[in-house]
């Protein structure tokens, strides 16, 4: 039977993927000889895609100018979730991710990303790095080489053991089961944890991140500064579904 000869492009499975839809992502893919990839493609059931995700070791996530850190982390989680499902190594599949940010991205973005992956600051050994478009391409190549890889189980353990996450889990537990008298102290603990970087609270909220985090900040302020009333408790219960974390 005649068989079609696979082209060299099909035979070679790229290890570097560039996630993004714009012309910047496409041209970067050309320069780095990587495969451009769209997040929408993740839902497609295709053996070729399984092969692609199974062999992926480096992912460059191109972030738009209006994208916040929690949104970037959501994209990162989306990719990881898909890799976990399709890779042979499941959630032990190790990848390194580099966020490609616009030139004027504030430093808060970096702290947001670091917190989203369970760290205080970006640590290149933990599988994540950031590169701004204003920086040189040589630096990007260097970062590609120097950034270590991490897997989902490590990421989840790190996230779970963050003092911020622990304080929020304690608060959720108290809001769900009481007593009323303990809510104030649990809220105080959360308030203290997030005092220095309150914007990071967005990472722990479901989308819309900013709006939900604002509601929680207001609630926490009321619980810390004023008296915790049954109404405030009820309000807290209503707000619980907006948090990503669940009761242990």
């Amino acid at each position: 039977m005649p068989t079609a000869t696979p082209s060299p492009r099909l035979q070679r499975v790229p290890q570097t993927l560039i996630v993004g839809t714009g012309p910047y992502a496409r041209s970067l893919a050309q320069i780095l000889d990587a495969r451009p990839f769209e997040l929408e493609m993740l839902d497609i059931e295709q053996p070729a895609l399984d092969r692609l995700l199974n062999s992926a070791t480096r992912i460059l996530l191109v972030i738009g100018g209006s994208c916040s850190a929690p949104n970037a982390i959501s994209q990162y989680d989306q990719i990881y979730t898909c890799i976990r499902k399709r890779s042979k190594q499941r959630h032990f599949h190790q990848i390194s991710v580099i966020f490609i940010c616009p030139e004027h991205t504030p430093l808060e973005f970096e702290t947001g990303i670091a917190d989203g992956i369970g760290l205080d600051n970006i640590d290149t050994t933990k599988g994540v790095n950031v590169w701004r478009r204003s920086e040189s391409l040589g630096l990007l190549l260097q970062r590609l080489q120097s950034t270590g890889a991490a897997d989902w189980s490590e990421l989840e353990n790190r996230r779970r053991s963050r003092p911020k996450a622990l304080s929020l889990v304690a608060l959720i537990s108290v809001i769900l089961s009481g007593p009323l008298s303990k809510i104030s102290s649990a809220a105080q603990a959360v308030w203290t944890e997030f005092a220095e970087d309150s914007h990071v609270l967005e990472n722990y909220c479901n989308p819309p991140h900013h709006r939900n985090a604002r509601k929680w900040r207001e609630w926490l302020q009321n619980a810390v500064t004023g008296e915790v009333t049954p109404d405030l408790w009820a309000e807290g219960k209503k707000l619980l579904p907006t948090l990503k974390l669940k009761r242990p």
């Binding site: 039977m1 005649p2 032990f92 189980s153 490590e154 353990n157 790190r158």
Partner: protein, 435 residues
Amino acid sequence: MRQIRLLIVDDEDEPRNLVRKIYEEVLSDFGLGVPAITTMGNAKAAKAHALQFLDDPDEPYDIASLDLNLGDVEVTGLDILEALKLSQAAWTAVLLTGFEMDLEKAAKTFVEPKKLTQLLRSFRSEAQEKFWPMRVLVIGKPHHSLPHNEQARLLRTHIEQVAEFYRNLESQRYMFKRLEVPRKRKVKHKSKYGKRKTALADTIQPRAVYQIRCGCGDMVELDEESWPGLKTMHELFKMGRNAVITAEQAMQIEPYKPRNNKLKPTKAIVKPREAAKDYFIGEHPGWDSYDGATRLQLIEEAISPWIDAYCELRKYQDTGSGLNKAQQAKLDQMLTHPLSQVAEDWYDNTKELTGTSGSLAEITIGRAAQELVNPVRQRPQEAREDVWLAQRKSRLCAALRDKNILSFADYIEENVSGTDRNWTHSPPKGIDWST
């Protein structure tokens, strides 16, 4: 006796050495021999070691003893447990929780017994989620503030439990069991309100199911009817070490049945329509006496006037360009031709080769035409016993691999061997099949 392979993962040196020493003593006392022990102190290295089995499968560990807390925020004993399951690198696992198990002492010193029991229960359920539930044991590690003798005494009691647990489970590691389960059929009946209902009821004739576990993987259940060759293999395994089964015996145990195409995921064989053969016999009365080359030439002559047009129309249809009414009518007319199946195969085989020119003889023709050229003749049943015996093994292994039951397929390939008319099953030392 095969030497037990044991993996101990603990980040602290002193407890690790104590655990190692007690394992050596207890396993020897239980008559399980002196184990070959691998110890690891680094959590990440242990995880990587477990995952290595995915790419490079080695002989799995018989017991993996893991500390829950490995002094690393990112990797716990539960993660290693999960990695061991993923790579099928351990038969049984033991998780040491790091809590005192002696409840009386716990009540006096460390934790409230009620809270301790709750904690252990939660660890147990987590461990059972991460590993095969029946093959994981959660035990307490004596608290480091206890006197050394007391620690050793408590640990020895727990490790004796582990040895007992392992000994009981060992017989299930290689299992090839035949079970008879009731066959269900749909029965219609009327409810008390007079409504017609359908329910499942057992039938008199049960169906046979084989439970198979080979090594550290999951247990699978395979139906006797859908898995030809399994019954013969089971009988061979049942006969014991180095038993031989002949082709005649195999035919008695499991008479030959035609290939069940349901098992094969590949495209079903397209049989030439009788119409095609009738067409040629009608056109050329001496068809049966012609040789292959003549037949091929006649097929080519018969379809060449319209094959190009057929391929073109099918191409439009496939590429989504669509057909207009006249084209559709023409294609429908061609499909009623007795040789349409031959033409369809021709199109299938050549659509990849755009721009290819040549006669049918130069490029492989389809199955339908091939069968017309060289008809397959059924051989008499008596002469094929030995052939079927060999086929039975290869077909069974292929079907097992198809269903991702790799370990059992590999085992059969390696350990069931023989000549044309005889099979022998010779398992390695230390592997006893409970059939």
